[in-house]
Symmetry: C2
Subunit: 329 residues, 2 copies
DNA sequence: TCACGATCCGACAACGATGACGCTGCTCGC
DNA sequence: GCGAGCAGCGTCATCGTTGTCGGATCGTGA
């Protein structure tokens, strides 16, 4: 900037005014400065600019997800990014692998970089840190899951209700031995889904058989293994409810070929679910809408909206494709 | 920081030293300062810190991909992010939708934020801007595709060769009417793949039938439509080569049910390709390795490695699963 | 001719932090 | 008893930019 000022024969302040398009600079001077800018390839240092600017804002938000490689979070992230782009904001992204320690590090690093707000898919741990950040005025929005004990804007789906309906669907097809295939039980979404499973059974007077419940399935392979074990029981389940897309696919692996006569309903839709030998009945949620909504909530806070936290619950869609409509043998 | 200094009864510089873990502060003073820090919830402003620091570095890199919601780029991004995390770097991410204008905006914005380096999946346009950035000392690595006319480190796969082998595989199964289903032709990877297709045909003395070539398929639906049209020709193709995962899936849609006797080989592996009614033969590439390698190249430059640009070509894997091994009628 | 507002532009301080250097005491050796 | 050396800490300048204020210049109308 100094070089530009020198080259154009003006002061730093005038360069600043030209670069920012402020009024009060004559067309001739503007032209001289602009020429110097392009000749020297000058670019403003936004960090320094934000440091001094009146509106203490960096036009950057932070996004913290479980795993960016997971299509669900990737889609959510893309929606956040688009919303940010429309407003001229940049996005810092990080995955946590559901590790509270990594979440902590990342949130601190983002906050030290002076992000204007955070969208977080909270890990299962405690959130005193997020609480502290909010107390210091950092806008925070939780996406996909609420953070335990944190009064923040939240965007989730009706996990429990959707699961209850899905399991009820299986019960209506006269299934009674319905297995539950769950991911880590300490994640909120999965607690909710399991609760929905329990409620559906209870509502139909079916006693929960602990032998048919598997938690903590962290991969496609683990899910396949669990299903293989379940199917080799003396009284195998006649239907499966799987609590996310990865587990649904693993369950299909575990059923093997030829496909036994077992009903299957999964949480999360996934590509090609409709093209498999037995098209899969699913509960579908829309990560793009979750991300977009979270971003809108965040920006409303950044723009100064003051009110008690809002909780947006998005509806899921039940899509019957065949695998969930198989009656028991 | 001023408040902390006041509370601890020391100068700003001492607070700075304690916060940075510099030596030369007595244990008592350190304790007093640390107490004040935690009592006031003080966090250093990294942007201001980077402004003054000797090593003019922000410990932030920029990642510019085509579409973050695409699992391929999401996986690539995750690998970049992990490499960055291991080194204590943060990642700014943006999608371009293959729009050169948006790419330009994003690169400028990242550079104005003083990122220490850029990993870019270049759009099809010209790259004078990237060139200018590199000339000013910004380390740049191209991932997935090279940028036309840009001498930068590059990580790609053997697109042309892999396609030649895939099409040769079909030719070896006595196919002669092999359709090419292509994405936008101005993207480098797709030009390479089409070139590989042409080379394989030529090597086998098969004349290219322009009626069997479709470029510019941008979605699953468009691919399905194109395949439906191809199959209704008087002399329909006996085999299809599809140039990416999206198009492969669209092609399967377009073939309809029951599946006609048409061979299919696709570029890119995708989840469940092995579980479809007719398991799909594919050329598989590994986006995580592409991203990880790109990040390593970038950090070597950031660490001061000086040498002519390197071009890393990763191998693809041909996976025969059945759909590519069907002979012509 | 002169007062006066408008326009254009520069000087100075400041944003939050660190680099360089210098000032205090204290210890130690001779 | 005195200077050297060092640990501990503060002062000042500075990173690149912008907010504030005021000075210079000009045209205009009385």
């Amino acid at each position: 900037m100094k070089d530009v000022a020198l080259a154009a024969g003006v002061s730093l302040m005038t360069v600043s005014r030209v670069v920012n398009g402020d009024r009060g600079v004559s067309p001739q001077t503007t032209a001289r400065v602009e020429q110097a800018v392009s000749r020297l390839g000058y670019q403003r240092n936004d960090n320094a600019s934000h440091l001094r600017r009146k509106a203490q804002t960096t036009r950057t938000i932070g996004l913290v997800v479980d795993d960016l490689a997971n299509p669900f979070y990737a889609t959510l992230a893309r929606a956040v990014e688009d919303e940010a782009y429309r407003r001229g904001y940049l996005v810092l992204v990080s995955s946590t692998n559901d590790d509270p320690r990594r979440e902590r590090e990342v949130v601190l690093a983002f906050s030290a970089r002076q992000v204007d707000g955070l969208i977080v898919v909270p890990t299962a741990g405690s959130h005193s840190l997020l609480k502290a950040q909010m107390a210091q005025g950092m806008p925070v929005v939780c996406a996909d899951r609420p953070a335990r004990g944190l009064d923040a804007d939240t965007v989730t789906v009706d996990n429990r209700d959707a699961t209850r309906k899905a399991v009820t669907h299986l019960l209506a097809h006269r299934h009674r031995r319905i297995a539950y295939l769950g991911d880590q039980r300490d994640i909120w979404t999965l607690r909710e889904r399991f609760a929905g499973y329990q409620e559906a059974l209870r509502a139909h007077g079916v006693e929960l058989d602990p032998g048919l419940v598997r938690h903590g399935l962290r991969s496609r392979a683990e899910a396949a293994q669990a299903v293989a074990e379940l199917m080799s029981r003396q009284a195998p389940p006649t239907a499966l409810f799987s609590s996310n897309d990865l587990i649904t696919v693993g369950a299909i692996d575990g059923l093997g070929a030829p496909l036994p006569r077992v009903a299957l309903v999964g949480f999360d839709d996934f590509p090609l679910a409709d093209r498999l030998p037995r098209p899969v009945t699913v509960v579908s949620q829309d990560p793009a809408t979750i991300g977009g909504t979270a971003a809108q909530l965040l920006f409303s806070r950044i723009d100064g909206y003051q009110a008690p936290p809002r909780s947006v619950v998005l509806m899921t869609r039940f899509i019957a494709r065949g695998s969930g409509e198989i009656p028991p043998p």
